[in-house]
Structures are given as C-alpha cells and as structure tokens.
Amino acid sequence: MPARSTAIRFEEVTLGYGRRPAVHHLDGAIPSGSLMAVVGPNGAGKSTLLKGIVGTLTPLEGHIRLDGPSSEIAYLPQAAEIDRSFPLSVYDLVAMGLWSRSGLFGGISAKDRARIEDALAAVGLVGFERRPISTLSGGQMQRALFARLLLQDAPVILLDEPFTAIDAKTTADLLDLVRRWHAESRTVVAVLHDLDMVRRVFPKTLLIAREPVAWGETPEVLSAENLLKARRMVEAYDPHAHVCQRGAA
C-alpha cells in the first residue's frame, strides 16, 4: 500500500438535508492507516458523515477532500438495502467486489476465482457458494458482505454499524478481519454503538453529536465528561433555530 499521510480531510464541513444540519463544523483529518471509530448518540450525524465521505451526499458547506479517487473507498452501508429476494447466489454477490477493480464489463480470470474462494474462506462461508442469498441469516449475510469488501481491496474502508443484530461469533470473526485490514495499513472508519468494543479494538475515536465533541485517542475521547456532553445534544430539530454564526464567515 503506497503511503499517504492523510486519507480524508474535512474542511469546515456541514452535511445535512435541506437547511437542517446533521453534522456541522467538522474540521480535521483522518490519517492514512488509522483504525477509527465514530460514536455518538442517535441522530448525531454518524451515518451522514460516512455518506458524505463516499460522495452520496454533497456537503452544504465546506469540502471533504480525499487522497485518491473515490472509487478507492469500500463502503458498507447500514443494514444494506439489498434485495434479498433477488435470485442471486452467494458467490455472485461476493464476486461483485471484483467489479470495482475490473469494471463492470470484464471477465473473471482464474486468479479472480481464487481470490473469491479465499475471501469466502476468510469469512467462514466455504460451501455457501451456490446458496441463494434469500436463505442467509443476518450473520451469514454480513459475512458475505465482508467477503465482498475483501475483494474490493480498497485502501479506505467505511463501515456503518456493521455488527448490529449480529451474533457474537460472527462479530468476533469479522473483527479479526478489521484488525487484519489495519495491519495491512488500510484506513478503516467504523460507526459503532458498542463502546466496550471501541475501547478494546479501536485506537482512535471521533465522538460526534451533530458537531465534533472530541477527536483523538480513544481513552481520552471516551471520558465520562465528553460522553455527558454528547448526551446533552438535542436530538430533534429546533423549530426556532437561528442561522448558525460560528465557523468561517
């Protein structure tokens, strides 16, 4: 992996829908190769943040700069909007990961096939190749999606609540993958709810409650004081909100 200093840079970013900000005044950088968790109360803007990085959402103000083309980001959305009833096999679902590299119109070589097999093995889905995705359990589906991420072989990986409602064994196995990615110097950003997991596995954390509350080393960020501050954030829209005065004029 070619070394870059900063994977993602935020410049006074405000992301939202209409004029209501979901995230505002986000300013800073995510260094390349970091393993970072994004935590915060419900509605804090965490998923919105990831969407902004991927490019699905355009910032209302400010810029998000990526070091490298956006196709080098692998994104796992929350409870992926996958049509489970579509007649697709696990193999074909996982193989989609290749398409981000080889494009949508290339063929699959023998080497590609080997990589698909490896990915399936890495997530413990050997033997599931021909199974239709409609027959997978939640955990199995998540494994398959992780296998697809593996195949995408991207330098930046974004995960939006990847372990929600997943059994413990699967969670543990997939966390191993996350660690492996970190060891491969990939940048991994994950939105998570489980603070114990964050403390155990993720060295860096961004605590966000519509605006960044704390950002840095996990133990400092997840202090009691910071957590209290974040909880006080108002979840609902304020009907009397004024135009925000802070930030660069």
Partner: protein, 305 residues
Amino acid sequence: MIPMRMSASAAPHEDPSVIDFLVTPFSEFEFMRRALVGVIAIALGGGPVGVFLMLRRMSLTGDAMAHAILPGAAIGYLLAGLSLPAMTFGGLAAGVVVAMAAGLVSRFTALKEDASLAAFYLLSLALGVTIVSLRGSNVDLLHVLFGTVLALDDSTLLLLAAISTLTVLALALLYRPLVLECVDPIFLRSVSRAGTPTHLIFLGLVVMNLVGGFHALGTLLAVGMMMLPAAASRFWTSDITMMMIVSVVIGIASGIAGLLLSFHVELPAGPAIILSAGAVYVASLLVGREGGLLWLAWPGKHLEA
C-alpha cells in the same frame, strides 16, 4: 351457373396425421411462416426484458409504457399515414421521453419510480388523445395502430429482427449493472457511475420492444409476450440466465400454439397466442418446480440438512 359448393363451409380437408396438423399450416401458407418468424423475434427480445422487469418489480411498467407509446405512434400515423418509419419513430420518441422523464424524476426527487411513471404515462396518453381528437377522432385509427401478426410484411419483420438482436446484445453487455441495480443499488453507485445510464438504457429497451411489438402485433400481444413468459419462468428456476432462456422458450412455444389454435379453431391470432402463454403461466404456477402451488402444498419429506 354458380357452383353449388359455395354454400358449404369450405374448411380445409384435414389429414389426420399429427405432423400435418402441426406442420402443414406453416408449410402451405406464407403468412403463417411470417407470423412464426415474427413471434420468435418478439419472444427473443421480450422474454429477457420481461424477466428483468419482473425482477425489478416493474411488471406493470410494460403496460404503462404501452399506453405512453400510443400517442407518439398516433401522431406519426396522422402525419405520414400507415408508414412504418413514422409510426415507429413516433412511438419510440414518446416512449423514450416518458421513460427518461420518469426515470430521472425518480432518481433525483423523492417520488418513486411507480408514481413518476404513472404521472408521465397518463400525461402522454391524455396528450395523445387530445391531439388525435382535435384532428378528428377515427375509431379505425386505433384498429390501425394495433397491427396483426397475420400481416407481417418485409420491413416489419426486419424491424422485429433488428430489435430482438439489439436487445439481446444490450442485455448481454449490461447484465452486471442491471443485476446490481436491482440487488444493491448503493453498492453500484459507490462503485460505478453506470447506474443511471443503465437504468435509462433498460427503459429504452423496454420501449423499443413494445414499439416493435405493438406495431406488428398489437399492444395486447406485445406486453403479453413480455410479461407472461417471464412470470411463468420464475416457477421453474432461480437462476437469472436460466430464467431468460426459459422465458424465450415459453414465448416461442406459446406463439406456435396460438397460431395453430387460430388456424384450426378459428380464434383471432393475437389473443390465441396470449391465451396460450397464459395457460403455460397457470400451469407453471401450479406445478412449477420452484415454488409452484403443488410443491408448496405437498413439499415431501424434509431432507437431512
């Protein structure tokens, strides 16, 4: 002296042989051969398109698009008479405009595909009816717009062949984006910008097949040959490629059956073909291996693992 045999119903002398029953109508009459070729072309293009429509939950889109096309073809007829290029181009233009507009609106606004399509095709239809009735409505105009499979001339056959070839090629090329668009559109969007163009091209294929179909065979037949074989194929396989093949086979078989019914039992040709396809659908619904009612009711003993 007028020959007395005029009064008897001069039915063709029927040879009891099965081969004669099946083959003679086609070997003796050119219009039957042409009809067969036309039906095969329609099935070849319409089947796979229908499969994708069905998988994308767009089954009624075919019917809506058929209505959207009518005004364009009517205008073409009013301007240039019964001319293949004029009516085809008119129908294509109207269909493409409606399809694009609906597709783009559903992409960029909160309105979903079904509502945006409904809005646009109704607009198109109303516009068409208004224009036609301003020029003096003619009931026969509708008759004329709906062709008949028994009257396929050379240029129409060529059109059908071209459409089905184009369709097969396009579907082969766009196979992956089409599948991805149905299964995981977010992933597709994150990986490639081919999503929107793919969707629009697909709608274009739908329009093209419908225009070719209705011009030669009537709206009923065009939409029917698209949706019924595809729906039936769902009950026989879960693999997309197999579904496409099965739908083409069912389409062709229905065409042959319908033509023979029309020949021996005197049913109108278009509806006979659709009825045959419908019969296959009902049969598939009942006894199809993949989720047919019979298998659902009596699944047999469960397996070990």
